[in-house]
């Protein structure tokens, strides 16, 4: 692409999660040329790694919609996909956005790569993130060299992957340069998503310290990829606990994340369905009715899952390697204790890491909680800057369904704005 001749788009969308993908697909359907800029090498965002929570019937978690939309994304010719790319410059002239996007070198050539994973296996710095990989198979290649951690890029000391890649594939060329692209766009959509709250934000829950304590997103990924708990070779946990509102509704996060109740109950029911003999408990503050749950959902969940209204105060390891929780029993008002083979911290939705820098670049503002500030509570796809739109969790907590409808609406507003401008 030529620097003097910037590529023109009706709209550029930042963030290739479910919100960004939905916005891009709807804009393409409305006949607009769009570019989708994704920071990581892979599309799909957080929810692409989540598991199906169907028991005998679908539990309406929406995770499979991400796969569905991803497939459509890769088949849509009106969308220019820029992966492993980040916005580094933005200015506006007569309303038109002039964007500078830096794209990491495409070290692995998609035409050659067969996703064999040899490069990843042999890379001496893979554990430091030198080669990134995804289990979301809609992406190809599923491996990407990360110049930020790759030894070749750091000091030229390694070329193992290039040598190990099968001679017939010869997909790796470490010398490939990074690209700086110039784009113009009439409208910009910020769909850069969220960061799950830090499961260690409440140190007494022992994340990283106690055995068998995992974060909600880790359980989702383990279940999706069949890597436990109870996976091949692993022991089936008998006593499973969830602690809700980790990184929500506290001093640092004075808001409800709006997804944790629902995913906790769905995961709990899924585990109960898989292992009917298991005992599943959830510690909660208040159960939220978000999205469009059927009235039976919570009643059924309460039948299968023991719901305890208490936030546990004291957790420690037992001699046999389990986790003991002390809490106040609601009914009796007495202190109680229980042991768990698996404890899941239901973390919430925190603002994206890049929000401050991105907001500065776009001259947009953030809410006190750190999300992108919408024009007003009744217009959450719009900002005070004409032409700058928001979609998905970049604006605040919402579930997959909420992301899809908001992104679809953003697409409509973008296309109207583009037509009028």
């Amino acid at each position: 692409m030529n620097m003097d001749n910037p590529k023109k788009f009706s709209a550029v969308i930042l963030g290739g999660g479910i919100a960004g993908i939905s916005a891009a697909l709807e804009l393409a359907r409305l006949g607009q040329e769009v570019a989708l800029v994704e920071k990581t090498p892979f599309f799909g965002g957080r929810a692409a790694n989540f598991c199906c929570k169907a028991t005998d019937a679908c539990q309406k978690c929406g995770a499979c919609l991400v796969d569905d939309r991803l497939k459509a994304l890769f088949q849509e010719s009106r969308i220019t996909l820029l992966s492993h790319a980040e916005l580094t410059g933005c200015s506006r002239e007569n309303g038109l956005f002039h964007l500078v996007v830096k794209q990491q070198p495409e070290v692995i050539n998609p035409e050659g790569c067969v996703d064999c994973g040899l490069c990843y296996e042999e890379c001496p710095a893979a554990d430091k993130g030198a080669i990134l990989t995804t289990a979301v198979t809609q992406n190809h290649p599923r491996y990407a060299v990360n110049p930020g951690a790759c030894l070749y890029f750091l000091d030229g000391s390694c070329q193992v992957c290039q040598q190990i890649c099968p001679p017939t594939a010869r997909a790796i060329d470490l010398a490939r340069p990074a690209k700086t692209l110039e784009l113009t766009a009439k409208a910009l959509v910020v769909a850069t998503g969220y960061r799950p709250s830090d499961p260690a934000c409440r140190p007494h829950y022992g994340y990283g310290r106690l055995p068998h304590v995992v974060a909600g997103y880790e359980l989702e990924e383990m279940l999706r990829n069949g890597t436990g708990p109870g996976g091949p070779g692993a022991e089936v946990p008998r006593r499973i606990g969830f602690i809700q509102c980790v990184g929500s509704r506290d001093q640092e996060h004075p808001y409800c994340s709006q997804v944790c109740c629902a995913y906790t109950l769905r995961l709990a029911r899924l585990l109960k369905h898989r292992w009917p003999e298991a005992e599943v408990t959830s510690f909660y503050m208040d159960l939220q009715e978000t999205g469009r749950q059927s009235p039976q959902f919570q009643a059924e969940a309460r039948r299968e899952v023991k719901m305890v209204r208490a936030l546990p105060g004291d957790l420690h390891a037992t001699p046999d390697g389990r986790v003991k929780i002390r809490f106040m029993e609601e009914d009796s008002g007495q202190p109680a204790a229980a042991d768990f083979d698996l404890l899941v911290l239901s973390v919430g939705i925190g603002p994206g890491d890049d929000n401050p820098a991105l907001a500065a670049l776009l001259q947009a503002s953030l809410t006190p909680d750190g999300f992108f500030q919408a024009a007003d509570p009744d217009h959450r796809t719009q900002t005070s800057q004409p032409g700058l739109f928001l979609a998905g969790t970049a604006e605040g907590p919402r579930d997959i369904a909420g992301c899809i409808s908001q992104a679809t609406a953003a697409a409509r507003q973008v296309s109207q704005y583009v037509k009028e401008s």
Partner: protein, 677 residues
Amino acid sequence: MTIARQLDIILAHGPELSAGGLDYYKLGLWAAGQPNSRILSLNPALPPEELERRLRAFLHGDQPHTVLVAALDPHHRARHILRLLTEVMQVNPELISVVDLQEALGSPDPQACSITAHHLIGVNASMITRAQPITTQELPVTSRVLVWGDSFAALKAAVDLADLGYPVIQAYPGPALSPLLPGAAPAQPFGAELQDLIARVQSHSAIQLLPQTHMAEALESAGNFRVRLQTPEGVREEKVGAMILAPELSLEPREAAAGAASHPRILTQSQLEDLLAAPEEAALLIPEADSRLRVAFLGGDSHPLALARTLSSARPLLARDNVQVMLFIRDAKVGAPGMEAALGQAQSSGLIVFKLPQLPTLTLADDRPRLAFFDPVMHEAESLACDLVVRDEVYRPAADNAALAEVLHLFPGPGGFLQGDNVRFLPVITNRRGVYVVGAGRGLMDLDQARAETDAAVNEVQQLLGRGTTIAPKGRSVVDRGRCVLCLTCHRVCPHGAVTWDNRAIINELACQGCGVCASQCPNDAIQIRNFTDDQVVAALETLDPRLTPRIIAFMCKNSAWEAYHAAIKLAPVNLPLGFTPLKMPCAGKIDIDYILKAFTYGADGVLVLACHQDNCKSQEGNLHAQWRVERAREMLADAGVDPRRLVFKTLAANTPQDFLAAVASLAEVLGGLKAA
């Protein structure tokens, strides 16, 4: 394989296929040796002009071509080739078969690798060379749109559509437009936006208002519905191209104990709001400088929007020094923007919140309401006299939603709302093309969400109705009028309301979504879904190579199991049984009982019927039909002396590759056991 007509095979590969252990040179030779076929080896990494030149040289001549593209991960790797074929070479997409050779690469030895590749190409070749092109047709549609209800979303939809030039009929149950602002007092004056919307609806020349209207009947389908509307002036019939449903919610007070309801100190939330709006009256019940007064709110915990209402009327009371305000709830519904902060603020200005598993019982004592409950914190029974008790109100879906859903043949939604409870319908579609549900029709939501859904539905209407004509497939689902005996089974089972009739069944191809449920249920085999026809499936079954064992035929819904299968073979090399035969179906509802039985006749050792999870089927019931047929087929197999364990029904989602592998493995194990026995 049985290649029915000239087939142009494109083997799209760079050297990478050999990297996986597949000898593509030999594969090319093998393919070239098949009757009726030609072969082109093409490296997809070539420059686009070169790809185009080679494709042109290969696909010369004017006759329509049938093309099979075999590649590793073709939708990524061969995407330029596929795009050139459809967009430049004008090959009908229905005459292109795309074969992913990935499964072959999972095989451990080169021999198995190429046998699997032959098998995959063979199965697909026999199907695609029996395919017929599906073309498109331009159909006239009515551009008038029916907007149902007078909620915010309905008003907004009417104005947006009218502004776009679509004439609108807006029908609603009451005598006047009376939208309800969720989270606000019903009697509160409308804000500027809503006032403006109402004024525009009332004055817009393209919007016709029909008050006090009910839907009596809805005939025909997308693009040209005929609806019969019951109005005070009598029944009128209107032709509309699409409908947006957003009937307003209603408010229902919590049930009160007998006698308590009429006491002047026991109010509903609405009554309190009215009272607060009239200071003189309020002063009678809650005098300014009296001794301490106690006000208790019961509930307000059904939804964040209900809590928002409670908190906004608690606020002026909390501002008074002499009033103690209590809130009794089961759960603090703070799952909406700003609500956690709003509750926190109310608490810091004095609101006392009791969270109880059961709300207090309300009685009267000394002409004062009294609340009895068990305090979980103090761990004792409490009884409190109050000066005022406020019963919460719950938002309910419009009462006649069920009737409306029945008239429109919609699958009912959760909790009395209109859109079926199936994530495939997100955000606003329904099982019937041309019928969209938004805002208050879908659930209880704030204005932002209602607005977003309205935007989404207006997009859909624009896509469907365009400027008076629309594009529909032609020849995808066809009734053989010679065979149809007008039993109307198809009309009854079609999940999308696409079948009508004259003296034979007629499928409306705009409304039809090609699921094939009708075709599989028709007792006379009078319906064929083009490119999933019975003879295509039989031809695929005929290619079963007896040397490949165990022979497992997997009939897979393309929306779920087919994707899970692809995810599984891409995730890691997997060694599926050599005779594994993947067959893609438009919906599990198209898996005929005949297919299952024929699969066994043609030598299958086992059959997998893989559908979407219950409530996740795009056609809602396709998976159920498949399950029922499998149950019946099992009985028939047992009667015929075939062990019914050879036939397995399982539901999957696109993102469950592990479940797919487990299903294949467990059937293979059963078959292994049966063989040993």
